[in-house]
Each structure stands twice: as structure tokens, then as C-alpha cells.
């Protein structure tokens, strides 16, 4: 069974540019999560999709970040325009959907974003 995949693995952009990160969850997983780890600090929750719907986006830092999951399969996270403080590792995770019960989240390798 293929795991969670993320593309690209690394991205280096200049301040003010736009970057789009992609996540492909494990097939059949309705839950998809985005997390971010900035400068060696803790991994922080950004948002959660259930299928194509945003269940919780309370962790999104500001309106420069836009996440989509059209069709309920893969997801994209766009940062526009990027700022220096957006640098970090962006993780995606997925889990099966059993309402009312926590399921284990499986993580991708992350995208390392550097904004210069």
C-alpha cells in the first residue's frame, strides 16, 4: 500500500513569490491534514479536510495560505505571497474516517520550503 506522498520535496523561492505544495493521501483515507514545523519548533496543526470539506482550519496562520482538496483526493496548499517566516517543513497526513473515534494519522515525508 502506497503511503502519503508530497511534492515537491524541497522548494526555494523568493519573498513575494507563490508556491503550491501537493499532498496525495493514502487511498481511501477521507481525512487529510496539513501541519507545519518552523525552525525546529514543534509541529503545528494547520487544517483538516474530511473528503473535500474543510473540517477545521483554525491553524492556518493568515489569508496568504489557501488549501484545497477538490474531489476529495489530493490536496494543495498555496502560499501567496510567500514571506520569510513561512520557511519550514510542511507535512501532510491522512487517516481513515470513523466518526467519533480518533484514527491514526499517517504522515508524508514533508516539503521543505525556504523563502529567501
Amino acid at each position: 500500500e502506497a503511503g502519503v506522498t508530497q511534492f515537491p520535496s524541497h522548494s526555494v523561492i523568493e519573498k513575494g513569490q507563490t508556491v503550491t505544495l501537493r499532498c496525495d493521501p493514502i487511498s481511501g483515507h477521507d481525512n487529510l491534514y496539513w501541519y507545519r514545523r518552523v525552525m525546529g519548533k514543534e509541529i503545528k496543526f494547520l487544517l483538516h479536510f474530511v473528503k473535500e470539506s474543510k473540517q477545521d482550519e483554525s491553524g492556518m496562520p493568515n489569508n496568504r495560505f489557501l488549501a484545497e482538496r477538490t474531489g476529495g483526493t489530493y490536496s494543495t496548499l498555496k502560499v501567496q505571497p510567500a514571506e520569510l517566516e513561512d520557511s519550514g517543513v510542511y507535512f501532510c497526513a491522512s487517516s481513515q474516517d470513523h466518526t467519533g473515534r480518533r484514527e491514526t494519522q499517517y504522515f508524508g515525508p514533508g516539503t521543505r520550503l525556504l523563502v529567501l
Partner: protein, 114 residues
């Protein structure tokens, strides 16, 4: 809201020595607890999890963790460390009936000396 503290940023142990990584959590009820490991260039891999039942949890790669409610701790242990265990380890806590809102610690980086 729940939170996780990993007091040790970096730990160095000799190969073959025992290992204990500390994790303390803050949560109003019994949480779900996890340990993940991230090797260089890899994603976060689940080592073990505690949902309920036996407080001593066995995981992959010879790791175990013990949930101690009185101490709000979920420390990770391994009796004999291998060089391949060098990685970064993350403790995480989640609410039992909520698929959202998982909180991670800042991570502990493990170096293994030959």
C-alpha cells in the same frame, strides 16, 4: 487545550546503551498518545500509540512506552539502542473523540555514538 513537552532537545547515547525519551502532556482527561520518529529525509513514522488498556505499550523497532497518569507522562524506552535509531522523535497527544487538534512536542534529536 492539550499540550506536549519534550524536555530534552538533544540526547546522545552509545550504541547498545538503554534509552529513555521523556514526554509530558497536559490534558483534562485521558488522551490518546503517540510517538513518531523522523529519520533524515523520511516522513514521520508511527512508533506506537496508547488509546486505552494496558499502560505499557509495545511498538515497532523494539520501542516501548509507558503511560503514567499520575505523572502525566508517556516516556519512550528502548533497552539497547542501534545506530539506525539516530533520528528525531516526536511525542503527540490527541483528544479521544476528535480527529482534529493533535498537538506535538518540539521533538528530541537522538545521536548514537559508535
Amino acid at each position: 487545550a492539550q499540550s506536549v513537552t519534550q524536555p530534552d532537545i538533544h540526547i546522545t547515547v552509545s550504541e547498545g546503551a538503554s534509552l529513555e525519551l521523556r514526554c509530558n502532556y497536559s490534558y483534562g482527561a485521558t488522551p490518546y498518545l503517540f510517538w513518531y520518529v523522523q529519520s533524515p529525509g523520511q516522513g514521520l513514522q508511527l512508533l506506537l500509540k496508547y488509546f486505552s488498556g494496558d499502560t505499557l505499550v509495545q511498538g515497532i523497532k523494539g520501542f516501548e512506552a509507558e503511560f503514567k497518569r499520575s505523572q502525566s507522562s508517556f516516556n519512550l524506552r528502548k533497552p539497547s539502542v542501534h545506530w539506525s535509531d539516530a533520528a528525531e522523535y516526536f511525542c503527540a497527544v490527541g483528544a479521544p473523540h476528535n480527529n482534529n487538534d493533535m498537538r506535538f512536542g518540539a521533538g528530541t534529536r537522538l545521536t548514537v555514538k559508535p
